[in-house]
Each structure stands twice: as C-alpha cells, then as structure tokens.
Amino acid sequence: MTIRWKEYPTQGLYDELMRGGGRPRDAARFLCQYLKRLSDDEIQARKAAAELAIRVMGITFTVYSQQGGSIDRAWPFDIIPRIIPRMEWERIEAGLQQRVQALNMFIDDIYHEQRIVNDGVFPAEILAGSKNFREQCVGISPTLGIWAHICGSDLVRDKKGAVYVLEDNLRVPSGVSYMLENRQVMKRVFPELFQEASILPVDDYPSQLYDCLAAISPRPLAQPEVVVLTPGIYNSAYFEHSYLAQQMGAELVEGRDLEVGDDDCVYMRAVEGLIRVDVIYRRIDDMFIDPEAFDPDSILGVPGLMRAWKKGNVALANAPGAGVADDKVVYAFVPAMIRYYLDQDPILPNVETYLCADKKQRDHVLANLDKLVVKPANESGGYGMLIGPQASRDEREKFAKLIRKDPRNYIAQPLLTLSTAPTMVGDHVEPRHLDLRPFILSGQKTYVTTGGLTRVALKKGSTVVNSSQGGGSKDTWIVDSEGA
C-alpha cells in the first residue's frame, strides 16, 4: 500500500506536515507529493537503505544491559522528515538567541553581584536551594562573560501550533551529532529531494563549535589545543563525543589522559611527551570533573582541573557552575530574566509553570494533580516525573507527599498535547508526537543550528521522546518555500 494522505488522521492536533483532510502544509507539499508517488516496495527499500546506512555508519547510542555489559544500539530513525518553513524558523532562532543571552547574563550575575536577587526579581530562597549552584565558582570571570557556551533547548508545540520552550539544557546537552548524522543518512536515501527543494544545510555546526571553543583559549594561538573530554566508551553519548572530536580535528581525551602540572596548567599525555591543553569541551558533569574540588571518588575527572581553570590557565566549556540556570524552577524565571537583563519582551514563551515553592501555586498544584505534569527540578532524561492524567491514585498521593516534603524541588505544568508528524509504522504512516532540540553556541557571536534534533515518540500516543525510553528521531528540514 502506498501512502494515502487522505486517510492520515490528524486527530485535531497540530501536525507538522498535514493540515488535515489530506492537505499538506505549504512547506511540506513537495515532500508529500513525492512520497505519494512511491510504491510500497520503494518506500520499504528506502527504509531498508536508511537502516543499512545507520548500521554501516555505526550511528549508535549506548545502552547498559545486565547480561552483556554495555552495548551500542543502532539509532532508531524515521525516514519522513519534519519540516519547518524558513520564515517561522527565523523567529524561533531569534527567540533562542535572546533566551541564551539572558541565561548567560544571569549565570554571570549569580556568581558576582547577584543584582537580580538584590533587585527582587529572582528570589534568594530559590537560589539558596539550588543543587547546581557551585560555591567554587563565585567571583570567577570566564572569557567574554560566557558560562554556557553550548546550550540545547527543548521546544514543543501545543494543539494550536504555538512554539514553547520546555527546558534549557546548560550542563552537557547531547544530541547534536545525531542531528548531523540524520542529515547524512537522508542525503544517501533521498538525494533527489535535496536537489529539488531548497533545504538549508546543517553541516557547519562542527566548525562553528570549533571557532566558539578556540575563541576562549587562554593563550592567543592561531591553533589552540582544543580537546573533548569524555567519560569513556560506556557513556551513552560516547558516539557523539568521538564524532564531534573527529569533526573538529580535536583530541578526544579521557580524564586519565590529562594531568595538571606544578605550574597549574593542564597537559595531556602523548607519545611525544606532555602537551599543554588550552580549551576543554567537557562532556562530564560538574561533580565529576575534579576529584579535588568535587566528588573525591570520581575516577572520570582530572585532579586539579578547577585550580587550573580558576587561574585562567585553561578554558572549560561549559563553565563549571553553568548548571545553576539548568533547573526547572529557575526555568520559570527566564522570561523575567529577559526583561530584566535585556529590557526586551521574550520572543518564545515558556510553558505555563507552577512553582511548588510558592504556597499559593503549591495549593493549586496539589488540588489539580490529576490534570498536571509534575517534574523534579534537576532530573533529565524524563525520569522522576508524574504525568497526572495518566497516573494512578497511589502515584498521585506519593507525589503529593514528595511535594509537601521538598516543595523547592518540584514544578508543575499543564499536560501539553505535543504536535505530531507522519511517521512510518510498518507499511503505512501514523501520527507520532515529537519535540525539537536546537543547539545554541555562545561566543563572540551567537549561533543557532539550522533546525535541530527532532525526537519522536515511536510508541502510539506516547509523548516520551527520550532515546533511552523508546524514542527515535527524524531529520529536521528548514525549507525555503518562498523560493520554491
């Protein structure tokens, strides 16, 4: 059976490609027409080609299993892309730049005068309860005043198609390599579509990332020594660490490859001897980067790294302590930050968020647990959440207790019905929910990826898009439809 768009149910939700009634959105028309012309065999052949490309290219993510130690699994990928018109994307891009700029100003402020607290815009008690605030970072001034050089923000659409920011990942956001690889796969599988339409390229991310990192080198060299610090091959994002190092021409190092010398500079152990390192793109969480400064049991980190960083002998991206703004409670204040630091109206709205720390809002949350999604402030990967409407009575009561015990650690949001896009299910297409994670680089200028990583919940009706929990991904096309 070929794809019959007329039979595609949009279910009254916002669909990224279809308006309903079998009519595609303008930017998706060329794609839908193209897919319609393919026979079932042809579609299956493309699907097989994509799967083969993914296996051969070795695009994997690592899953820990109890029998076989850790294994890397092929990346689940859907061949139907998600399309965003260029005009709409430009507005989103501007919104993300604005947001990340304000976030960096916030972090810098928090580790210096704390004007935003003194001016009563950001509550002191929320800062006091922050798990990611690092005492060790107070008074430090990283180059250009930037703490979060790499940010991955998650965007979702509601029923009506409006775009919201769901969270900002400022610690070690991952996924960008899959965005780049998805495009490689699609070019192998649908070369003719790339000829036909003007789909904006995504490939310059690695060189943008290199420039961003090289710009913060403490030594003003034409080619500073930039390294990517990974926890090692058992980390779920190891593929990405190695991919980015390769694409940037940087060394991929583990903690055991580095040492801090008596001169408080960082060196890597090489065949030639010790080589000084200028910039570390670290993909290890704050708590593990330096056993001297943080978790003394960490074997992933480098003893003395914080010392070297504080002396300005090495640059770390993201800077330690940047995670203070990566907190779902702090998130609620981002629109206020934009107004406070930039004196602008936020271009991209937040999802409506109730802070359990506030008595009035907490009472509202407790009274409406069956309608809301409750999230802990500092978890990622979709763990530790309560999805009220789908939860049992017991689970809701458990969360009510948790909230009363530690209100600072919880927020609640209305259950968003995420937008959908047509996704191959067996031999036909069905709507599946998705989100979008663009990546924002902050240096001398701010750069936003063209589109981002579209994550899709492959299970029917599910809105959990995390790859560790049955999510897959799609290529994201920013399409210049005016020119088409």
Partner: protein, 314 residues
Amino acid sequence: MLSRVAENIYWMARYMERAEDTARLVNVTTHLVLDLPKKVSFDWETLVDITGYSEIFRERYETADDRNLVRFLVGDALNPGSVIGSLDNARENARTIRDIIPREAWEQINNLHLKCKGNLQSGLSRRGRYDYLRWTILGVQTITGMLAGTMTHDAGYDFLRMGRNLERADMTTRIIDVRSVNLLAEKSVDLVPFENIQWMSVLKSLTGYQMYRRAMQVRVRRPDVLKFLFQDRRFPRSLYHCLREVENCLQDLPHNDAPLRQVTQMQRMVFDAKPGRLDQVELHQFIDDLQAQLAGVHDQIAATYFGVAVPAAT
C-alpha cells in the same frame, strides 16, 4: 598523539591481523585435510595449539572434534584468538579512536564485524566455510588498503604498522613451530608424497606459496621453506621483514632508544640463524627464544609509549 590512542591503534591493528591470520589458517587446513590420505587422522587440535589458546578451549569444550575446534577458532567470541573474537576486539578498539581513523575505514571495520557476526552459521558449516573465511580475509585486506590509502602516515600510522607486523611475526613463528612438528606423526614410506603437501600448507597458511616459488625457484623443501619464512627480506610475512617494518616505524618516533635496541637485536638473531640446519627439537627451542624476544619488543613499546610516566614534550 595521545598515549592511550596510540595503544588503541596498535591493538586494533593486532586484532585485525589476528582475525585475518586465523581465517587463513583455518581455510588452508580445511583444504589440506581433504588432500590427506584417509588413514591419516588429522589432529585439529594442533590448530588451537598454534593460536596459544588451548587452555580456554579445554575449559569450554568437552571433545576436540572438528566441529568444536572450528567453532572455537572461527565463531567463539570468548576466544580472543578466534576470527569473531578478534574482530570484536578490533572493533572495540576502533570505536574508541573513531575520531582518529578515517571514517570510511571505521565504516568498513564496523561492516565487516556485522557481516561476520550475521553470517556466522554459514561460516561454521562445511560448505559455507570457505567463502566466509575468504571474504573475511578480503575484508581485513580492504581495511588495510584503505588505511594505507587514506590515513595520514603519521605517528598513529606507525603504531598501526607496528601492531600489524608484530602480530604477523608472532603468527608466522607459531605456524612454523606447530606445523613442523605435529602434522605427520608417524614416519612411513607411503606418506612421503604427503610431506610436500605439509610444507606447502605451511606456506599457504601464510599466503607464501606463490612468492616462495618466485623467490626460491626450488622444490618445496624444509630448509628452503624455513629460510624463506624466517629470513626473506621482501616477503611481507617473513619474520625478518616484519621486524624491519617495526624498526622503520620506530625510527620515526621520539624516545625510541630502548625499543629500537630490542628490535635490532632480534633482527640480528634471526639473520644469523641457520634454521634449515636445526633439527625438530632445536627449531622448537629457537622459536621459543624468538617468541620471548617478540614479547620483549612489545613490552618495550608499551613501556615507552603507552605507559603512564611520560617525559615532558620538547
């Protein structure tokens, strides 16, 4: 180049070479067995002895029959010397350095690994075995060629070549050792025609038959075969040649005094030997000494380049 990366490249190359060598060994032996007279019962276990993993074999299998031995040598992932086990390890090492080796080469390694795993059942069957092993060899050769043609010939490439050549040298000595002893245990007149076949199979295990014929232009006789496999300067699998390769690589690397001394000392030992004149027992002793020397070369390289204590760069 990071010390850890150098070590991974070195081991990747060793395991790739091991996969190829084991595949050749099993393939040639399978053919040899078909040519032997019915009354000579061939002892497959010598193959396991060659690889040096007899202990693991005895732990894992009750009977040493053809089926189990081929499974152990080709498809047993728990045997680090098997084709699959070697490819597993080669891939795992390659995975940690995918930022260093050219992307095409990584894809090829990954693909070969998938293909060998996916077709294992047919590889274990008597009928599918030849093809399976042949394209495994071809796959490794493709990767070797790809790396030669696309990877910058820098320090990393030196570690790759050293890994490959040390593994090769190791396998060459093992094959000579075991093959020259065990194959035709009973000396009887009607087996004489098969002695030739025995030495031919030694050469073929090392793809050296054709090259031997060109280089030596004599019949396949023990002294000439031994001279060729130990001392030929140009045959890529002769022990002497492998050592020359390692020496060349070391010349390019910093801090090379100790490993270089070890490798040139071993070259002299190989070059001065008269292997054709050694009887079975002496040959075995000589090979034991060589194995110890090879291990010494590896130890020197590991201590100099992979160790934790590294001198400051100048």
